[in-house]
């Protein structure tokens, strides 16, 4: 029962995001896409509100956090003043392909659900620190400095971006206690949210059949990797949701413009405050999207502000908190930025390939890549997912080059998860049409 109320508290996420997504300019998205996009934006705003309250030494409360986040969502509508109304594609009865794609996505979500309920997908990180931080922060009604400063809690990773611990703490405050199984169930729940929303978002990029098939492939890929790499209850699945939806938004022909850019920007902020690797993803994807766009320098600057402004503001609040409390000043556990060991490069790449191959025999990475190769030459927009994939892979290899010792163990337990966005990006690239 407590698990149900913990999960039910997550209903606040779409509720607080809905003032923004209710704007007429987002009418282009079907109902479920709008609900999930509201939830993703709501997660970013709830987390930002909690960080802001912690920064200003205000105690968290469910009503206060939700109200502040909803006010922020309403305030963001000001940026959309004058944007015209849009309407979703004409509703049509799903054809056989769409129905089969929907069924496959359902099977993938059910498989993830069963794996999680069976204790076969739970992340060790959940029981090591995500759950502990969420409980502690909920009890302290804020980011508990005493807890994070304790030398014995060094491995609580105080600098880790705050979204997941904040949102979990929010649900814990609302439900009255932290529930481990409920936290683990965020994996199938978030996967189901992606399955429900992605076809509608991709529908602007490609045909209904192609959108459904691409979505089914992406959902099945993430279900497979998530179940094999044990991500239930950690920050990976929320990160995949934010990144996939943001990228899909950028690929739509109607992406350029206030509403599309602002929404993608908020999702990038959510990704960058969910995990460290969300930041290079956001910067690479936004830079590539801007590079491909025509327009005046002023117009591009405006678009850049919409795409990356929310990330800058969200991370500025987080680092302002860390710096002002002398808690952290950087993503500190990886050593100095350019202090790398290039002589480890061959070994690092070999370990990455080995760990990926050991995760479901590498099929979840290989099959979307084969789909991309089989799809032939793609249009210019495919440069966004493919360039982002290259940038992310480069960043991850660069990160793995930092330890002076053998990083094999670190790569073994992290690479299958952190490289998971790559097959998603391959599938999105394959869905991009050819240039006219």
């Amino acid at each position: 029962m407590e698990g149900a109320s913990w999960l039910a508290a997550l209903v606040f996420l779409p509720a607080v995001g809905s003032p923004l997504l209710a704007h007429r300019s987002f009418g282009r998205f079907p109902f479920w896409s709008r609900v999930v996009l509201s939830g993703a934006a709501g997660a970013a705003l709830i987390s930002f509100s909690m960080t802001l309250l912690a920064l200003t030494d205000r105690a968290w409360g469910v009503a206060l956090v939700a109200t502040l986040a909803a006010v922020l969502a309403s305030g963001l509508r000001v940026l959309l003043r004058g944007e015209p109304a849009t309407s979703p594609p004409e509703p049509a009865r799903p054809d056989r392909t769409e129905r089969i794609a929907g069924a496959i996505a359902c099977i993938a979500v059910v498989a993830a659900l069963l794996a999680t309920l069976g204790g076969a997908a739970t992340s060790v990180d959940l029981v090591f620190f995500w759950g502990a931080k969420a409980q502690q922060f909920a009890a302290a009604r804020g980011i508990d400095l005493e807890f994070l400063r304790d030398p014995a809690h060094q491995y609580m990773h105080s600098y880790y971006p705050p979204l997941v611990s904040n949102v979990f703490a929010f649900a814990t405050m609302a439900a009255g206690r932290f529930v481990w199984t409920a936290a683990a169930l965020t994996f199938p729940l978030t996967l189901a949210a992606l399955a429900a929303s992605l076809p509608g978002v991709l529908r602007g990029l490609t045909s209904a059949r192609a959108a459904a098939a691409t979505s089914a492939l992406i959902v099945a890929t993430l279900a497979c990797i998530g179940s094999q790499a044990d991500i239930a209850g950690n920050a990976d699945m929320p990160l995949y949701l934010f990144e996939t939806l943001a990228l899909a938004l950028l690929l739509r022909p109607d992406a350029a413009g206030g509403p599309g850019d602002l929404l993608a920007g908020i999702l990038f902020a959510a990704a960058a405050t969910a995990k460290v690797e969300g930041l290079p993803f956001a910067v690479a994807a936004a830079a590539l999207a801007l590079w491909l766009r025509a327009g005046t320098p002023a117009g591009r600057a405006k678009a850049a502000a919409r795409l990356l402004g929310p990330t800058a503001v969200a991370l500025a609040a987080w680092f302002a908190f860390g710096l002002s409390r002398k808690l952290f000043s950087a993503y500190s556990e990886y050593g100095r930025f350019f202090d790398v060991h290039p002589d480890h490069a061959t070994g690092v790449v070999a370990e990455i390939v080995k760990s990926i191959a050991a995760t479901g025999r590498g099929l979840a990475y290989l099959i979307p890549l084969l789909c991309l190769v089989g799809s032939g030459r793609r249009g210019r927009t495919a440069a966004i997912p493919l360039g982002t994939a290259a940038a992310l892979a480069g960043f991850l290899v660069f990160t793995y080059l930092h330890p002076a010792g053998d990083p094999a163990q670190w790569i073994g337990w992290s690479a299958p998860r952190v490289f998971a966005p790559l097959p998603v990006l391959f599938a999105l690239a394959a869905a991009c049409g050819r240039d006219a």
Partner: protein, 151 residues
């Protein structure tokens, strides 16, 4: 480009759907390869099927819970530093109102910190006799002890 001239899934959606279905089946097939009694086993810890060792350690902490006072201050002993560290990390979340004090921290001995704890949870490893402990309860895979104050 218009949606109508869309990419390859539009041309060969069947192949994409077969690929997606194969990816759905893989984890299910891997799971059903296990013996039936193992599949029907209802998990008692969040980690039963992801990490058997951690699941045992979680179950040990759960078993100790009944023998701990409210807001306990304790340290954990285990057969090796890695296990002790894992138990320490899990205890922070498993007992949210507690204060676990490490006797080893990621392989570095910290006996001066652990010695401040009035309670000792010993996992598969009897505590050294010179610690002067009183047994509170034996539990699965270990025991809970209290330090006897020096006379």
């Amino acid at each position: 480009m218009t949606p109508a001239d869309a990419g390859p899934p539009g041309r060969s959606p069947r192949l994409w759907l077969i690929a997606a279905f194969a990816l759905c089946c893989f984890p299910i097939a891997a799971r059903t390869a296990h013996p039936l009694d193992e599949q029907l086993f209802v998990p008692v810890t969040p980690l039963d099927r992801t990490d058997g060792a951690r699941a045992e350690q979680w179950a040990f902490l759960e078993a100790c819970r009944a023998h701990l006072p409210p807001q306990p201050v304790f340290t954990i002993l285990a057969e090796d530093p890695d296990t002790a560290m894992a138990l320490f990390m899990m205890a922070i979340g498993a007992y949210p109102d507690s204060l676990p004090l490490p006797t080893t921290y990621y392989g570095n001995p910290t006996p001066e910190i652990g010695a401040q704890a009035p309670l000792v949870l010993a996992y598969r490893s009897p505590p050294p006799p010179e610690w002067n402990l009183r047994l509170i309860a034996r539990v699965r895979q270990g025991a809970v002890y209290a330090r006897v104050p020096a006379p």
